[in-house]
């Protein structure tokens, strides 16, 4: 009995081969090749004493705890069991040969020199991925998902969304940190629309650039285990926006479409240890985040070229009607522009429009002014009239006359738009009390 060294090939020969083998010989060979290989044995030369059922001399081949046959005889002999060119293949990496010769090789008193056999074996790669090559019939597949054979071995891999476990064989769903950064896409529960696995702790994160808003649209079918009385006790689909939960869903009624107004959305999916619901699928899209529609604070405010929708980086310009000033607090503004920011807010709040005030009119030396309008104030479109202290002075005006109006620019101007006020000039030669002669 001699163990054959773990080589990739070799030969087995009967003792003394090519000389006739001795009588009363029992030779055993244990062929072993490296793991990942199987043994393939062929007889190059086979010449044993033939007998019925190989009763006298024989070689017995065994592998994988099964007999591969008992052989004897010569090529062309009517009795015996010559192996011919047969290839003996093990399932494992071992093969056992046992040779037995009886006490003689005489036939009718004549010694016939049977020379024995010469056999070659080689290690053949075992395709571990072939289920037919399973060592045990009740063994399952080598890998839960994908099996990859190579010379001398094999390895397993998993489908997308699964992770190979430490046993290098089984696959478990990997959905704890799925990241989506494209402007649009699809995400779904594992195996969708097939029932999702149990014990899931999935986290799908959508992260887009600032200024974009994610919109979620649930597709059909939508099935998550539920309870009639208790809200989502078994499995839950949660949606978080910037860390804040905005909804928890289960059941068979789709949430429809959700506008998140955020560039950061997380979808969490938790399942318990059982259930046969088909899960969910979401088509997400993105658009520039919207800002609230600008609303004037008063009836004198004008929003230039208003748009039906304002989105990130859009802006609007505000002005006032004629005779009104843009004001922010107590400060007068020359202009106003607000830009829609990435967070959906305007970078400045809406100003207000305040009526122009021209202030007190310039006093007229040797004269006075009076208000034409009843309200007697200095606001836009108020009107005053200048006059002189008659009869000692007379008024001299420009071509615009003696009426001054509070202009949109905040100045008092005459009808020609000039700001220069009239002048009171002396009246000459008009004594109030001239001399009167009586006696003639």
């Amino acid at each position: 009995s001699s163990p054959v060294p773990r080589k990739l090939f070799g030969e087995i020969r009967t003792p003394g081969y090519p000389k006739p083998y001795p009588n009363n010989n029992i030779s055993i060979w244990d062929i072993r090749v490296p793991e990942g290989y199987v043994v393939k044995l062929t007889f190059r030369y086979f010449d044993l004493e033939p007998s019925e059922t190989c009763f006298y001399d024989y070689v017995k081949i065994k592998a994988d705890k099964k007999s591969l046959g008992r052989y004897c005889g010569q090529l062309g002999s009517t009795t015996g069991n010559h192996p011919g060119r047969k290839e003996f293949l093990s399932k494992g990496n071992r093969m056992h040969l046992a040779f037995h010769s009886d006490f003689s090789n005489e036939d009718n008193g004549t010694v016939i020199p049977y020379r024995g056999f010469l056999a070659y074996y080689q290690a053949v790669d075992l395709d571990e991925c072939d289920p037919n090559n399973a060592a045990e019939k009740d063994e399952g597949p080598q890998c839960q998902h994908f099996c990859h054979n190579y010379v001398g071995g094999y390895f397993c891999s998993c489908r997308t969304g699964y992770r190979l476990q430490s046993d290098h064989h089984s696959c478990k769903v990997e959905c704890s940190s799925e990241l989506y950064t494209e402007a649009s896409g699809y995400l779904s529960s594992p195996e969708y629309p097939q029932p999702y696995p149990e014990d899931l702790r999935c986290n799908y994160s959508i992260r887009l650039q600032k200024g974009l808003s994610v919109n979620l649209k649930f597709l059909e079918p939508f099935e998550i285990d539920e309870h009639q009385q208790v809200h989502c006790p078994y499995d839950q689909l949660k949606i978080q926006v910037r860390g804040r939960e905005i909804g928890e869903y289960c059941g068979r009624v789709s949430p429809g479409s959700i506008e998140t107004n955020s560039n950061e959305v997380d979808i969490l999916f938790f399942t318990d240890e059982s259930g046969f619901s088909r899960g969910w699928k979401i088509h997400y899209t993105s658009e520039k985040i919207r800002c609230p529609q600008p609303v004037p604070r008063d009836q004198f405010t004008i929003i230039r070229n208003p748009q039906p929708v304002y989105q990130f980086q859009d802006y609007f310009i505000v002005s006032c009607k004629t005779g009104y000033n843009l004001m922010e607090g107590n400060r007068k503004l020359m202009s106003f522009t607000a830009v829609c920011q990435a967070d959906g807010t305007w970078h400045q709040s809406m100003p207000r429009c305040e009526i122009v005030n021209c202030g007190n009119p310039t006093d007229l030396t040797n004269g006075a002014f009076s208000y034409v309008n009843q309200s007697a104030n200095n606001i836009y479109q108020s009107v005053i009239t200048y006059r002189c202290n008659e009869p000692y002075y007379h008024i001299v005006t420009g071509t615009g006359g003696d009426r001054f109006t509070c202009s949109p620019e905040g100045t008092w101007v005459d009808q020609d738009g000039q700001a220069r006020i009239p002048a009171c000039l002396p009246v000459c030669g008009k004594p109030v009390n001239p001399i009167t002669e009586f006696q003639r």
Binding site: N366, N389, Y392, Y393, L425, P426, V427, C428, G429, K430, P431, V432, N433, P434, I435, E437
Partner: protein, 251 residues
């Protein structure tokens, strides 16, 4: 004023009382000019004419707004900023009062009212005011019956034809060869007792323009031979209107 009457307040609101080299008069133009005679500032033959105009302006007293001298003084004087003497006036020539006209610019404009009002200047196209017999009025604080008056007086005098003035003057020429230039006119009566006199110099001879209803200054009391002994001679303002406007408007 000889042979005149007392003026009431408001009769001659343009009348100014001056005290530069003694009593004189003037007339308000606009609200900050005083029209007067140049010789009230640079008297003829006076040795002190070396004083500068600035100093004279500083020292001159001008009063407005009343008919009584005492009340005028109480109301306070109106300081002068500048003095303009007509370039034709020659203080050295005692016999020639040609160019006897000056303007005084007040430092502060006066507020007009019933007792302070300006006189008008004549329209340069209208010469009727100087025609023989055209009546005018002269007011002043000058001598009356040998006493300087403390009250504003006025007298009505007719303008006289140039020939009459010259003829009368020629008869007087033997004693004093006075010049009667075209820039003068005379008014009054050859033997009448109504005339202007010392202290009235600088006051204005005014006429009522009935067309406009305004009183117009046609002359400035300038010189005479005695008082109430014949005609009085006045600077003809009509010939100086451009000069006056040139100064007043420029300012």
């Amino acid at each position: 004023i000889l042979g005149g009457k007392s003026a009431k307040r408001g009769n001659f609101p343009w009348q100014a009382l001056t005290n530069i080299h003694g009593r004189g008069g003037g007339a308000l133009l606009g609200d900050r000019w005083i029209l007067t005679a140049a010789h009230t500032i640079f008297p003829k033959g006076a040795g002190g004419n070396n004083v500068s105009l600035d100093q004279l302006a500083e020292e001159a007293d001008i009063f407005l707004g009343h008919t009584k001298v005492e009340e005028l003084h109480k109301m306070g004087n109106h300081p002068i900023r500048r003095i303009f003497i007509h370039p034709d006036y020659n203080p050295q020539d005692e016999h020639n009062f040609n160019g006897d006209i000056a303007l005084l610019e007040l430092k502060h404009a006066v507020t007009l009212g019933p007792t302070v009002l300006p006189i008008c200047l004549p329209d340069t196209t209208n010469t009727t005011f100087y025609m023989d017999g055209h009546l005018g009025y002269v007011s002043g604080f000058g001598v009356e019956k040998n006493f300087i008056s403390n009250h504003l007086k006025y007298v009505s005098l007719p303008a006289v034809a140039r020939e009459k003035c010259q003829h009368w003057l020629d008869n007087k020429k033997g004693d004093m060869p006075m010049v009667f230039s075209e820039n003068m006119f005379c008014a009054g009566y050859p033997t009448g007792k109504q005339d202007t006199c010392q202290g009235d110099s600088g006051s204005v001879f005014t006429v009522l323009d009935r067309g406009s209803g305004r009183w117009v200054a046609t002359g400035i009391v300038s010189w005479g031979i005695g008082c109430a002994e014949g005609y009085g001679f006045y600077t003809k303002i009509l010939n100086y209107v451009d000069w006056i406007k040139g100064i007043v408007r420029e300012d």
